[in-house]
Symmetry: C2
């Protein structure tokens, strides 16, 4: 069989079915073998046969209370006014759990017995079987205790033991071999030279396989050499129940995997109508399923979730763990390509009693989109996308109670927000402050639309020279909003280390041929630049690079560090992060805008406390470029 | 300090706070120590400090596609009709992920390049930075990647590696020592003599502790000896971060733990207003938290969930994992004691698009109530209970998608239902058939009220001599119901092994002084008995034991096996489970009643298939006492 040179667009369900069929045809086992293991080692394993009780629990009638065992009919006539004395032959002292002595059928609680000499005095008659646990009350011998294909939990182990088991037949953990490939890939911990890429994917895939209960390991990194890679795949197929080959992300590199799989065994699918994850390779070699995952990290992670995890669950004979779903309101418009299942990472927050989903960056290379994601939104192949405000169903990556303990901040980015997030979490691990960086104006729009708890803003109002507050009157005159000062901070020009061009300020943009890197429209920093250019009477059209927009301070710093621009406006902390020099231009306030009611919201209370704390001010001071004189002050 | 001889009723939140305060006062550390561990060993561990990026990803601008790197401004003018030739000095071939060569700022995809000799021909102009991933697109050096107190997932490890980390500072796994106590407790696997109890609790508690990420072990079983137990607690406190003492379930036994804790350290709480779990002991010894859990298995499991798990999470500096909740309709009335938090185990099913919760047996000794539970319903101390049909909030023990793949059967119990459940699950691990045994009439009522998918019934209609169908016309005349025959089965008298009293049939109940064990009203077997007694002209009032009701065939068998009765009506399989003899009395049909629409419901389709399969008939034949001639036949 020959590999096709083209990547096809097989729908996901079809691709999975074709893979399963190919595996069956290639002689791959349906299930991994089963082992009889002691109960204490069986937690998390999957039963390979039903567990039937061989023993009842309790094994006999037992006392359910501390007290005395009596014969119920001998207690007739006892009342508070006519107490009854039972002689020593008519009762037996019992503790909870003791077998009922022969000839007795009820228990009188210790607290209701008074001893008069050797006699027990009782003050009420009792019915038969009072405070007696019947044989088999919990488990009857012969009953079905646990089904086949059940992942064993702690209570299951205890019940199985009570039902007479000491060992259970469970599936062996599936073994997963991960083969990283590529001449440019180097192990984590080695020095990375230009053009080399760290092997973060095998670290992740091995951990993903272990998380779903497998034994997993990564082989050595294989160079782009068909022969060596073929040998590695064969070896792995001989020792594992499933082989993952991490291809480079290029089509050419994937073809290696597809070609090797088709030469050594059966290639079922090359290319699925899903993104990220499109160039996935599915097949079988030597009666072992093989999957080629794309090299982009988000693609690799999602390929595991969509294709590998279900097959591993099937090998264990268990249901694949499905993520719970939640209905959320989409924070903004989400276009999607028709013909492809589109897996969009989203942040979730509970604002005003409703769950809100904000899409994260969609690039397959942006692993942090998955780190920051609270959920996955699948836009199916047949859907063109969603409108802002639409109700969508999101698969949860975090649990809802955690999401409900998340303060959602949308707006301008500032490292002080990160510091606050860190300190809040350090004091209370249940509290998360999650920030999305869309610029000051974007944050105010999100607040207006009920998509966040707070908006970080440093938006200069040119007509008044004031910051932020005038915009609130324009955008949301009817809303009762509060504005809390976070900090004053220095804005300045970020320039390469040592400031080789000797840049002294924004006036240089009008006088010299400097290339500039800009922030997006709606960003406070962009407003500041435009205001300053007007003041300096510089025409933006004459500024080289004015049209190139970056979404954050750090992205501006990165562009300058990469040599793509000579300067850009930003904050000192961003310059420090990339080892750049900083030419101060202005001091500006950075404020938090919230609904006035949020000042009383228990979720946000720790934040308001934090703003007043000396520890917080000290941490900000360490960053440099900030002034905390007015931190925590309510401006409106 | 002396222990109080009384068990108090401290509300849960107060008890937890008192325990935390006592631990702090006793010098217990707030957090376990932190270790720097390699990323590959860090999955599931909790960060002890935030992870800040020390490296950007990508580390430089890189090609995002396979193709050629070009200088965008040199491509101006290229169109499909006026292709442009770039000489070898004007382009560089790049693969995805390659660093952008100096002096080039855009990539043209491989598919859009034609080579003419050494020249590259392109047919459209490209903007700067097309198909270029910017330095820091994923991660910018200096940004906050992961907060403190974050449990590391596979993607986090990969992102941390990409951000320059090779090791992370994480909390050590908390160490938990479990001390089983009691003269009557014997290890799992040992022969159990009369009055002895298997140590299933330490197996469960150790597994629970491991499930939440701890290192855990059980010590030897300690006898009821204050001195030896004191030594064991001290030793455990010296090597563990938390000590669990499993008390016997009696008040007297608990006092041992409370007394020891107060003598060796600080006793904070003895007795909490929660059930199951009331007599819990909370304190600290030698700067180590100690908890005494009650011996009843459900109490032990819930005490772990309510008290131990949150403290262990706090020691790791993480948020305790909170169970997701779902709103469900309560299947029947649920009374509850005021003044106690009441944790009720419930089965869940999705019937007619609504989640329905059926309370399970509430005894603290019924561990299978927890095994079978899909959720926990907390009835708070201030609430008297709930009405049938009320909407309640349930904490999920299974995921909702699994619950939605559950066929809910309520009605009469028959082992053939268990066999069907086993075979359905064996063929499809995602499919569960969950049955609750409430008798035939109870099942029909549940079906009427929309609480189940199917009702198992063998309800004799005395006036017509027919089974089940006449009741449907009486109870639900307006409903479109289908009746499917499951089996015919033998009913008979269960009698002790060897039938020592020589019982020959129900007529003996009228002629001899036999003690009988009955089924509850509404059970088909009870209807059969009453019908037969009428036919034989036996007055029920003369039958000894007629008033004692058991809920299942197996419970009847258990009562006879325990010597509490001479005989009872039931099925052969129940006799076999308890090694009893069986005196046949009648053959009766056992049918499944469903909404007619259920015959087309994809969820139930595998069941209808199964009823027709020869394998299923063969399995039933193995049970004995069944006839499958009409199995699967639709009667109505």
């Amino acid at each position: 069989m020959h590999s096709s040179p083209f990547i096809s667009d097989v729908p996901v369900a079809e691709a999975l079915q074709a893979w399963y069929d190919a595996c069956t045809a290639a002689g791959c086992p349906d299930r991994v073998a089963a082992d009889l293991v002691p109960l204490e080692d069986a937690a998390g394993r999957v039963t390979a046969e039903p567990v039937w009780a061989t023993r009842s629990s309790p094994v006999s009638d037992v006392a359910a209370m501390d007290g005395i065992a009596v014969l119920a009919r001998e207690t007739h006539g006892a009342t508070p006014t006519t107490p009854l004395h039972l002689g020593p032959e008519s009762y037996v002292v019992v503790d909870t759990g003791d077998p009922m002595p022969d000839g007795f059928d009820a228990v009188v609680m210790r607290e209701q017995v008074h001893y008069v000499g050797d006699d027990a005095e009782i003050r009420s008659a009792v019915p038969p079987y009072q405070h007696v646990r019947s044989i088999g009350e919990d488990i009857s011998a012969g009953e079905l205790l646990l089904p086949e294909g059940h992942r064993l939990r702690p209570v299951d182990l205890a019940a199985a033991a009570a039902a007479g088991a000491t060992r259970v037949l469970v599936r062996r953990r599936p073994r997963v071999a991960v083969i990283p490939t590529g001449d440019e890939i180097v192990p984590i911990g080695s020095p990375v030279r230009r053009g080399e890429i760290l092997d973060t994917n095998s670290l992740m895939l091995v951990a993903q396989a272990r998380e779903v209960g497998c034994e997993a390991w990564a082989t050595e990194i294989q160079p782009d050499d068909v022969e060596r890679l073929s040998t590695a795949v064969r070896e792995a197929a001989g020792s594992a129940d499933l082989v993952i080959v991490i291809a480079g992300s290029s089509a050419g590199r994937d073809d290696y995997t597809a070609r090797i799989v088709s030469e050594l065994g059966v290639l079922a699918v090359h290319g699925v109508a899903v993104r990220p994850g499109h160039p996935v390779v599915l097949g079988a070699v030597d009666a072992t399923p093989v999957v080629g995952v794309p090299g982009y990290p988000v693609s690799a992670a999602l390929t595991f979730e969509i294709f590998v995890a279900p097959l591993l669950a099937a090998l264990e004979g268990a249901a694949a763990s499905q993520r719970p779903e939640v209905t959320a309101r989409l924070a903004r418009k989400l276009p999607s390509v028709v013909g492809m299942d589109d897996w969009v990472r989203v942040r979730l927050g509970s604002v005003g009693g409703q769950v809100v989903a904000s899409p994260l960056p969609r690039g397959a290379g942006v692993l942090t989109s998955l780190v920051r994601a609270d959920g996955l939104l699948l836009v199916p192949a047949g859907v063109e996308g969603h409108h802002a405000g639409e109700q969508v169903s999101v698969r949860l990556l975090r649990r809802l109670p955690e999401i409900e303990r998340t303060i959602v901040a949308i707006g301008s980015h500032d490292l002080v927000i990160d510091v606050a997030a860190t300190m809040l979490r350090g004091a209370d691990p249940t509290l998360t402050l999650a920030s999305s960086n869309v610029g000051s104006l974007g944050g105010l729009v999100a607040l207006r639309d009920g998509l966040c708890h707070l908006a970080g803003s440093h938006l200069l109002h040119p007509a008044t020279g004031e910051y932020t507050v005038p915009y609130l009157d324009e955008m949301m005159p009817e809303r009762d909003l509060a504005v809390i000062r976070l900090v004053h901070r220095d804005q300045g020009l970020l320039v390469p280390p040592g400031n080789p061009l000797g840049i002294t300020g924004l006036a240089d943009l009008g006088e010299r041929d400097l290339s500039y890197v800009n922030r997006q429209r709606g960003a406070g920093t962009r407003m500041l630049l435009d205001q300053e250019l007007r003041r300096l009477e510089i025409d933006p059209a004459t500024v080289s690079g004015y049209a190139r927009e970056e979404p954050t301070h750090l992205a501006v710093a990165a562009a300058i560090a990469a040599g793509r621009a000579d300067c850009g406006l930003g904050i000192l902390a961003a310059a420090r992060a990339f080892g750049l020099d900083f030419v101060p231009v202005a001091e500006e306030p950075y404020d938090l805008v919230v609904e006035a009611s949020s000042l009383e919201d228990p979720l946000l209370a720790p934040l308001w406390e934090l703003l007043k704390s000396a520890d917080f001010h000290a941490e900000i001071a360490k960053l440099g470029g900030y002034n905390t004189t007015e931190t925590g002050k309510r401006l409106r």
